[in-house]
C-alpha cells in the first residue's frame, strides 16, 4: 500500500539542524496493522505525519499506491489524503464548537457528497462506534473515551482504506484504552489498514508487526506470532 525509501526529515532553524528521520525504509501492505514504537523524540510521530501527508519530507521517496507523492503540492496531497487516510490523535482534536455528529460529518464535508448521504454515513458510523446517543452533544460534554470513539468514527466515516493513529490511547485510562484498541482491531479485521504510534507494549500487541524507531532510524521490526 505504501513504501518509503531512504527517507529523511530534517528540521532546520537558523542555527540548529535536527534530523528527525534518517534514511528510513518503511513499507506497509494493505490490510496490515502496524505499530510504531520508540522513546520520546525518536521520530515516531514525524513518520506518521509524513505517512499521512500532513507533513512534508526533506529527501527520499514515498510511494502511496504506486504513486511517488514526494514533492506533490499541498493541494494534490490533500486530495489523496481525503480519499484514503483517516486520522486519530492522542488529543482527539475535536472541534469544540461542533456537535458530535457535526465533528464526524466534517470528514465528509470536503468530499463532493450530497448532504443526505453524508447524514446517513454519519448515523451509520455513530451506531457502529456506540456514540449515536451523544450525537447532539459537544465534545466538552463527553468523557475522554467517548471523545476518542468520536475521533475514530470521524477517521473511518469516509471509508478510507488507511487509518493513522497517533497514540490513540495516550489520554485514556486503561479501560477506555482497551475499548479503543478493540475498535481498531475490529476495523482492521474488516480490512482497514492501520498504522499506530504507541508507547504501550500491550497495545502494540494488537498489531501484526511492530517497528521500533531510535534517533530517526528503524532499529528493529518484530512480527507478532500468529
Amino acid at each position: 500500500m505504501l513504501k518509503m525509501h531512504d527517507l529523511y526529515k530534517v528540521y532546520r532553524t537558523d542555527e540548529v539542524e535536527t534530523v528527525a528521520l534518517n534514511g528510513i525504509n518503511f513499507e506497509v501492505d494493505q490490510g496490515e496493522f502496524v505499530a510504531v514504537m520508540g522513546p520520546s523524540g525518536c521520530g515516531k510521530s514525524t513518520l506518521l505525519n509524513i505517512v499521512g501527508m500532513i507533513d512534508g519530507l526533506t529527501r527520499g521517496d514515498y510511494w502511496f499506491f504506486d504513486e511517488n507523492v514526494a514533492g506533490y503540492s499541498e493541494k494534490h496531497l490533500s486530495a489523496i489524503r481525503k480519499q484514503n487516510i483517516g486520522f486519530i490523535f492522542q488529543s482527539f482534536n475535536l472541534i469544540d464548537e461542533l456537535t458530535v455528529a457535526e465533528n464526524i460529518e466534517l470528514a465528509l464535508l470536503y468530499h463532493k457528497m450530497p448532504s443526505s448521504q453524508r447524514k446517513k454515513q454519519v448515523l451509520d458510523v455513530m451506531d457502529r462506534m456506540g456514540v449515536a446517543h451523544r450525537a447532539k452533544h459537544r465534545p466538552g460534554q463527553l468523557s475522554g473515551g467517548q471523545q476518542q470513539r468520536v475521533a475514530v468514527a470521524r477517521a473511518v466515516v469516509g471509508n478510507q482504506p488507511l487509518i493513522l493513529a497517533d497514540e490513540p490511547t495516550g489520554n485514556l485510562d486503561s479501560v477506555h484504552g482497551q475499548e479503543v484498541m478493540e475498535l481498531l482491531r475490529s476495523l482492521n479485521d474488516e480490512g482497514t489498514t492501520i498504522v499506530m504510534v504507541t508507547h504501550s507494549p500491550s497495545h502494540a500487541d494488537y498489531a501484526h508487526r511492530t517497528v521500533n524507531l531510535f534517533d530517526g532510524h528503524i532499529v528493529t521490526e518484530n512480527l507478532r506470532a500468529a
Partner: protein, 808 residues
C-alpha cells in the same frame, strides 16, 4: 457548505461573547459613521434635484480677489449686473434669472414683520417648476404680483386660497398675491439658512424693487450678498464647461476694472451644489473632509476587526489543522473564514442601520435637514459596503490562519511563534495614527476657537443690546428722540448708532490718499459711520485728540461741507505713515470715492486698533466718521440691574417712539454667535469623528490586550517562577503595545500639524502653542492607550504563577 460555515461563524460568536461584542460594536459604530457621512455628503451634494431642469441649471458665483482681505474665498452670488449681460451676449443659453435679496418690512394680514425677500426675474418661474396650488408660472410678470408658499399663506391668512390678497412693503407699497405654491422641500438651496436667514416664503418681481428702492433693472456692481443669485438654464446639449468658458469671456470683457479688484473671476456651479456656497466662501473643504473622516473612522473600525480577528483566529489553529488533515483545501478554508467575517459585518451593518434610524431623526430635528435612509436607493451601496468591509477586514486573518501546513496548524505553531505579531503591531500603529491625528487636530481647532472667543471679549458682548434695521427714513428721523428716551432708562448708560456693530461681516472700504488727487498713492481703509456715543457704548478709549462731537462743526459729515473731522485707529496711522497718535491729530487725508468730488478728512482723534469684524479677520485700518445717512444699527449699553426688565423697558420705549416699526433687538453675543456657531459646528463634527475613532482604537486595543495577555499567560507564569515581580510583568505587557502607539505619534503629529495649520491659516489671529497642543494631545493618546492595556497587565501579573502555567 455555506450553511455549515455560517453555523460555525455564529457559534464562534456565541463562544467568545466579549470579542463578538467588541467586534460587532466597533464595526457597527464605524459603519454607522461611514454610512451617515455618506448620506450627509450625498444629501448636501444633491440639493434641488426635484426641479425638472435642475440638471441643466447652473449658478454663477464670484471668486474673491486675493487682496480683498475679507476672509472669504468664493461666493455663490455675483453682482446683479452679470445676469443681463449673460442674457444679451450668450445667445445659446435658454434662460437667465436673478434673485436680489433685500430686507423689507412686510405687512400681511394683521401682522407686520421684517423679512429678507427674494426679488426675482419672472424667468425664475420658468427655470424652477414650483408646484402651484393657485396661480401659475406667470405670477411675477405683473410688477405688483407676488408669490407666496403654502405655509406662509396658512400662517398669515389661515388658508391657501389667497389670490389677490394685499401685502404691504415698508408700510407704503402694495402688492397682491398672484400665486401660491407648495412649500419647497428642505433639501433645496432656497431653504439653506446659510444663504438666506429664512426659508423661501415670498418671491417678488425685480420690477417691484425698482418701484420701492429705485432699483436699476440692468443690475448693479455693488452688492455680493449671498441671496443675490444668478441662475442660467442651458439647452440639454450644453454643459458646465461650455458655460464657464462663456462666463470667463464676460468677466474679461464686461466686468469693470475696479470691480476686478473685488472679484478675481466668475465661476459656474451646478444647481445641485448651490447650497454648499457657505463652505466655498470660507474656503474650508468641509464636505470632502466629512467624506474623508467618515472613511477614516471606518478604516479604524476595519483595522480593529482585522486585528482582533487575527489574534482570535490563532486560537483556532488546531481547527484549521484538523480540517486540512481531513482534506479541506485552502480555498475552502479561506471561504469559511471570509463567510465568518461577512456574517459579522452583516450583523454590524444591521446594528449600524438601527443606530442610524435612531440618530437621523435627532439630527434632522436639530439641524433642520431632512436626511433619510431610503433603503430602496441605498440598498446596493449598503450591500456593497458590507461585502467590501467584510472581505477587506477578514482577508488578512483568513490568509494568515489558513497559510500553515496541516502539521504546523495542528501543532499550533502560529500561536506559539510570533507570526503576525508585526502585522498586528502595524495595525495598532495605523489605528493610533488615525485617531491621534484626529485627536490632536480637534484639540488645535478647539483651542483656536477658544482663542477667537477669548479675543472677542474686548467688546462687552453681553452688555450691548443691538437694535437693527434702523435705516428707513421714518426711523432715522427719530434716532435722537429714541436715544434720549433710552438713556433716561435706569441701567442704560449709552446709546450709540453706527453703520455696523462688532462681528458683523461687513467690509465697507473707501479709497483714500494722503495728498489730493494722488491716484497712484491711494489705498483702502475700512469705514464705519457712527455717532459720538458709539465709543462710550463700547468703552473705546481715545488715545490722542478727542472724540467726535455733536457740537463741533464738521464733526458730522454733511453734503454742504467738503471737510469732515474723523477718528482713525492706530493701524490706519501706520498705513498713512504717521508714527504716533499725537502727531496724527490735525493731519489730513482725502477721500476719492464719491463721484470724484474730493473730500478732506481731518483726524481729530486716534483710537486703539481693535478687531471690529473679529472672528477670523485680521485687524484692519479703520476710519470712524459721524455720518447720519449711513447709520443702520443702535448699540444700547446696559450695565447692572435686571437685564430682562431693562430689555422690556427698551422695547416699551421703542414702541412709544417708533410705533410703526417692530423693534429688532438682540444682544451683541448673538451677532458674534452667528458666525462663531459655524466654527463650533465644525469643531463639534470633528470632535465627534475623533471621539469615535479614538474610542474604536481603544476598544480594539482593550480586546487585543486581553487576548495577547491570555496568549502570554504561560510565558508570564515562567517569568514569575523565575522571579519576575508583578510590576516587571505589567511593564512587559504595556511595553508590547506602547511601541506601535509611539510610532503612530511620530507619523500622526506631523500630519496633524499640516492639517491644523490649514485651519489656523483661515484665522488672522492664531494660537501660539500649536506644537505644544499637538504634543499634549499625542501624550493624551499614549496615556489612554497605556490605561487601556494596564488593566489587563496588572490583573494578569498579579495571578499566581501556577495558574499561569496550568493554562496550557
Amino acid at each position: 457548505m455555506f450553511w455549515n460555515n455560517l453555523k460555525i461563524a455564529l457559534r464562534n460568536l456565541r463562544k467568545n461573547k466579549l470579542f463578538a461584542f467588541i467586534n460587532i460594536a466597533g464595526l457597527a459604530l464605524g459603519l454607522a459613521i461611514y454610512v451617515f457621512g455618506g448620506l450627509l455628503v450625498n444629501y448636501e451634494r444633491t440639493h434641488d434635484l426635484f426641479f425638472e431642469n435642475a440638471h441643466r441649471t447652473y449658478t454663477i458665483g464670484s471668486i474673491a480677489a486675493a487682496d480683498l482681505d475679507v476672509g472669504v474665498d468664493r461666493m455663490g452670488s455675483t453682482f446683479s449686473a452679470v445676469g443681463p449681460i449673460v442674457e444679451a451676449e450668450v445667445s445659446d443659453v435658454e434662460l437667465v434669472a436673478r434673485t436680489i435679496s433685500r430686507e423689507m418690512l412686510i405687512t400681511m394680514g394683521a401682522e407686520s414683520f421684517y423679512q429678507q425677500l427674494r426679488f426675482a426675474d419672472p424667468e425664475l418661474l420658468q427655470i424652477f417648476d414650483f408646484d402651484y396650488l393657485h396661480g401659475d408660472a406667470s405670477a411675477l410678470n405683473d410688477p405688483s404680483g407676488i408669490l407666496v408658499t403654502e405655509s406662509t399663506a396658512m400662517k398669515y391668512f389661515g388658508n391657501t386660497d389667497v389670490l389677490g390678497k394685499v401685502i404691504t412693503m415698508d408700510n407704503e407699497f402694495e402688492f397682491y398675491i398672484s400665486a401660491v405654491v407648495r412649500d419647497i422641500p428642505q433639501n433645496s438651496h432656497f431653504n439653506s439658512l446659510f444663504i438666506m436667514e429664512s426659508d423661501l416664503e415670498i418671491l417678488a418681481p425685480i420690477q417691484a424693487l425698482g418701484r420701492i428702492r429705485d432699483y436699476d433693472m440692468a443690475g448693479e456692481w455693488d452688492n455680493l450678498s449671498l441671496g443675490n443669485m444668478t441662475y442660467v438654464m442651458l439647452p440639454e446639449t450644453l454643459g458646465q464647461q461650455w458655460l464657464q468658458a462663456q462666463i470667463d469671456g464676460i468677466y474679461e470683457r464686461q466686468v469693470p476694472e475696479d470691480k476686478k479688484e473685488v472679484i478675481a473671476g466668475l465661476f459656474v456651479k451646478p444647481l445641485a451644489e448651490a447650497n454648499l456656497a457657505i463652505w466655498d466662501m470660507l474656503g474650508l473643504p468641509v464636505i470632502s473632509v466629512v467624506s474623508l473622516l467618515s472613511l477614516l473612522v471606518l478604516l479604524v473600525a476595519c483595522v480593529n476587526y482585522t486585528n482582533l480577528a487575527t489574534a482570535q483566529s490563532l486560537g483556532r489553529s488546531r481547527e484549521v489543522g484538523m480540517r486540512k488533515t481531513m482534506g479541506a483545501e485552502r480555498g475552502q478554508l479561506l471561504t469559511q473564514f471570509l463567510v465568518e467575517s461577512l456574517t459579522i459585518t452583516a450583523i454590524a451593518m444591521l446594528v449600524a442601520i438601527a443606530m442610524l434610524e435612531l440618530v437621523i431623526p435627532l439630527f434632522n430635528s436639530s439641524t433642520g435637514k431632512v436626511l433619510t435612509l431610503d433603503y430602496l436607493s441605498t440598498l446596493p451601496w449598503l450591500l456593497a459596503t458590507t461585502i467590501v468591509v467584510g472581505l477587506v477586514a477578514g482577508a488578512y486573518p483568513a490568509w494568515l490562519i489558513t497559510r500553515a501546513s496541516p502539521i504546523d496548524a495542528l501543532r499550533d505553531v502560529a500561536r506559539k511563534g510570533r507570526k503576525g505579531s508585526r502585522v498586528r503591531a502595524f495595525m495598532i500603529g495605523a489605528q493610533f495614527t488615525i485617531s491621534a491625528f484626529m485627536l490632536s487636530l480637534v484639540t488645535v481647532v478647539f483651542m483656536q476657537n477658544e482663542k477667537v472667543k477669548e479675543s472677542s471679549y474686548i467688546f462687552p458682548r453681553s452688555e450691548v443690546y443691538i437694535l437693527g434695521r434702523m435705516s428707513p427714513d421714518e426711523i432715522s428721523g427719530r434716532l435722537d428722540t429714541l436715544r434720549h428716551e433710552l438713556e433716561a432708562l435706569p441701567n442704560v448708560d449709552h446709546v450709540g448708532y453706527s453703520s455696523q456693530v462688532p462681528y458683523e461681516q461687513n467690509n465697507t472700504q473707501i479709497d483714500i490718499t494722503m495728498t489730493p488727487g494722488d491716484e497712484a498713492g491711494k489705498f483702502r481703509i475700512h469705514y464705519l459711520a457712527m455717532t459720538p456715543e458709539f465709543l462710550d457704548a463700547y468703552d473705546i478709549p481715545v488715545l490722542a485728540g478727542r472724540n467726535l462731537s455733536r457740537d463741533v462743526s464738521n464733526d458730522e459729515r454733511s453734503d454742504e461741507s467738503e471737510v469732515v473731522n474723523v477718528l482713525v485707529n492706530e493701524l490706519a496711522l501706520e498705513k498713512m505713515g504717521i508714527t504716533s497718535p499725537q502727531d496724527a491729530v490735525n493731519q489730513r487725508f482725502y477721500d476719492l470715492d464719491e463721484e470724484n468730488s474730493l473730500r478732506e478728512m481731518v483726524i481729530v482723534g486716534v483710537v486703539p486698533t481693535q478687531n471690529i469684524t473679529g472672528l477670523f479677520n485680521t485687524e484692519k485700518p479703520w476710519v470712524y466718521m459721524y455720518r447720519a445717512k449711513h447709520l443702520r444699527t443702535g448699540s444700547v449699553r446696559i450695565t447692572g440691574g435686571n437685564m430682562m426688565d431693562t430689555i422690556a423697558a427698551i422695547e416699551d420705549t421703542w414702541d412709544r417712539v417708533i410705533p410703526e416699526y417692530p423693534i429688532q433687538g438682540r444682544f451683541l453675543d448673538e451677532v458674534f454667535d452667528e458666525v462663531y456657531n459655524i466654527l463650533k459646528l465644525l469643531n463639534g463634527a470633528l470632535a465627534g469623528f475623533a471621539g469615535v475613532a479614538l474610542a474604536l482604537a481603544l476598544i480594539g486595543l482593550f480586546g487585543l490586550a486581553a487576548f495577547m495577555a491570555a496568549q502570554r499567560t504561560r510565558e508570564i507564569g515562567i517569568r514569575k517562577v523565575l522571579g519576575a515581580n508583578s510590576l516587571q510583568v505589567a511593564r512587559l505587557l504595556v511595553w508590547q503595545f506602547s511601541k506601535p502607539v509611539l510610532w503612530a505619534l511620530v507619523i500622526a503629529l506631523p500630519l496633524a500639524y499640516i492639517a491644523s495649520k490649514t485651519y489656523l491659516d483661515f484665522f488672522a489671529e492664531r494660537i501660539d502653542a500649536q506644537v505644544v497642543i499637538l504634543l499634549a494631545s499625542g501624550l493624551v493618546a499614549v496615556l489612554l492607550a497605556w490605561g487601556t492595556v494596564a488593566g489587563h497587565a496588572i490583573r494578569i501579573s498579579r495571578a499566581s504563577p501556577i495558574l499561569a502555567l496550568r493554562y496550557e
